[in-house]
């Protein structure tokens, strides 16, 4: 089975950064329905620095690269998102500190570490209507392919983007239980969670960046 290289990670992060910048206003609007309307601005502030510092980022290993992203995100993203996204990148980075390419199994472990990190940092569980409700299905989908030697990484990516996209509608009518949105209680019902939309949009944009036709389209802010 193919390995996932540092170059793949670079391409993915670059696409995610573009997602964050292109959707700055749209993600904040999503956060304004029930939250404090800062999510898009927060995320963009961090990924803008990623873009600006792009050429100087440490590329000695996948882990070093991700830890650098983690640092930039935690430093530059306000609200809950800074430590949550920062932790995710940090946990994933720690498992790949000395690797320049990883297996799908490694990726699944890194994603699991990221999910556990988010849960530990912010105390959310599945069902709280947070980006975990996109990330956990994505991780589960990837797990299905682990150990299948003939799995096509492009296919895995397409499927991952698909389950993340599905999460938007699936969770829309739930009540947000974490972050600023939880303070407005029932007002979150009927509004998609901004964090879930962001994850789905990023995965779809990564698909496009590597020439994979996504199963569906999440949004285009």
């Amino acid at each position: 089975m193919q390995e996932i290289t540092l170059a793949d990670f670079e391409r993915a992060i670059k696409a995610a950064a573009e997602t964050a910048l292109r959707n700055e206003k749209y993600f904040s609007e999503l956060d304004s329905a029930a939250g404090d309307a800062d999510f898009g601005v927060s995320l963009a502030s961090g990924f803008r620095v990623v873009q600006n510092d792009w050429d100087q980022l440490d590329r000695s290993s996948i882990g070093a690269f991700l830890l650098k992203i983690s640092m930039i995100i935690s430093r530059n993203v306000g609200g809950c998102s800074g430590p949550i996204w920062g932790t995710a990148f940090m946990r994933a980075g720690m498992l790949s500190r000395d690797k320049t390419s990883i297996t799908l199994e490694d990726l699944e472990k890194m994603l699991t570490a990221a999910i556990e990190g988010i849960q530990q940092r912010g105390g959310a569980v599945e069902g709280d209507k947070t980006l975990l409700d996109a990330l956990i299905p994505v991780r589960n989908k990837i797990k299905e392919y682990v150990g299948k030697p003939d799995a096509d990484l492009r296919e895995v990516l397409r499927e991952a983007a698909a389950v993340a996209t599905e999460a938007i509608e699936r969770t829309k009518n739930w009540v947000a239980k974490r972050g600023r949105q939880s303070f407005t209680g029932e007002r979150s019902v009927g509004t998609p969670d901004p964090g879930i939309v962001a994850i789905a949009t990023m995965l779809n944009d990564i698909c496009k960046a590597v020439g994979v036709e996504p199963a569906s389209q999440a949004s285009n802010g």
């Binding site: 935690s74 430590p83 940090m90 303070f183």
Partner: protein, 331 residues
């Protein structure tokens, strides 16, 4: 907004520079990370005790750096948690083989950023642990916290841990002491007015000319309820009862009492409050071993005060009485 301020964006940096300029021998200042630390630290034979939360609570916590108190403080902007890299740098520069103790007031932002920094430092082999302070009895959860908030009781955790660390206590020993203080300390505050963060330029909440916010948080978070302005003694009675009944304290307890000004209340009024608190202690059979009247944990220029009671045992009495020095000259 009527304040002594230049560009509001530089308010915290200029304040820190002022503190550093005022203490050139005792302190070192690293502007990139809002870091203030003792010039003679880290000491390999002593656990480093550090803290960092939002600014605007001065003298907490940058002015609590000094012998027998904190070894370092890494404040964020006014009312915002220090970013992760400030926390990380603080731990890294204060790293001692005996360990680093991070004292965190229970606010979500502070907890998440410090937790993350601690994980990063631990991954590099630094011996660092943290302790969460949550002495405010006013509300269970709040807009900034899951669980109770950490407020002026913080001072006693710093003082006790600072003294024990100076005597060579281990990191685990300090965690035990922090835990003991936190379990025995209770606080509640009241606001007469709002306050205005320089960069915001507007009061953080509205309050009527005849209203008070009972149980206010140190970022102006709502407390238990709005009330009408009432005599000082009646206000103390409400704070005292809330604090006393929460632990609960009991007749015969030996206690430390703190009347903490929130920033805009003059010390004359704080002594009017202390008078009543001392009367109430006597009535309830509490022996006041030490008292603290002044500013310890403020909300910018907010008029208001908090009352803290700490139940003492011989270990804590001893630690509170230990010598200490802070970076603010009094005379």
């Amino acid at each position: 907004m009527k304040k002594f301020v230049n560009d509001p964006a530089n308010f915290v940096a200029e304040m820190l520079e002022g503190v550093a300029l005022a203490n050139p021998e005792m302190l070192r200042y690293v502007p990139e990370y809002n870091l203030i630390y003792r010039a003679d630290r880290p000491n390999p034979d002593k656990v480093s005790v550090v803290q960092g939360s939002g600014s605007g609570h001065e003298p907490a916590h940058i002015m609590a750096v000094g012998p027998g108190m904190l070894d370092a403080a890494a404040p964020g902007n006014v009312f915002s948690a220090p970013p992760v890299d400030y926390c990380y740098e603080c731990i890294k520069r204060l790293a001692s083989p005996k360990g680093v103790l991070v004292l965190i007031n229970n606010y979500q932002g502070d907890r998440m950023n410090w937790d993350m920094a601690i994980e990063m430092a631990q991954a590099e082999g630094i011996n660092v642990k943290s302790f969460i302070i949550d002495d405010d009895v006013a509300v269970q959860d709040s807009t900034h916290t899951v669980g109770r908030r950490g407020v002026a009781g913080n001072f006693f955790v710093i003082k006790a841990c600072g003294a024990a660390a100076e005597r060579g206590a281990s990191l685990d020993e300090l965690l035990r002491i922090a835990q003991k203080v936190n379990s025995q300390v209770r606080t509640m505050g009241v606001a007469l007015t709002s306050c205005t963060p320089p960069a915001k330029g507007k009061p953080i909440f509205e309050i009527g000319d005849d209203e008070i916010e009972v149980g206010v948080g140190i970022h102006g978070e709502p407390g238990r309820r709005r009330d009408k302005l009432k005599p000082a003694d009646a206000i103390v009675d409400e704070l005292f009862d809330a604090v006393f009944n929460d632990l609960p304290f009991k007749s015969g307890d030996r206690v430390a009492v703190m009347i903490n000004g929130l920033g805009g209340t003059p010390i004359s009024e704080l002594y009017v409050l202390y008078r009543r608190a001392a009367q109430r202690c006597k009535e309830k059979g509490l022996t006041i071993v030490r008292n603290y009247v002044g500013e310890y944990c403020t909300s910018l220029e907010m008029a208001g005060a908090s009352l803290t009671l700490l139940r003492l045992d011989s270990e804590l009495e001893d630690l509170l009485a230990a010598p200490a020095e802070v970076a603010v000259r009094i005379f």
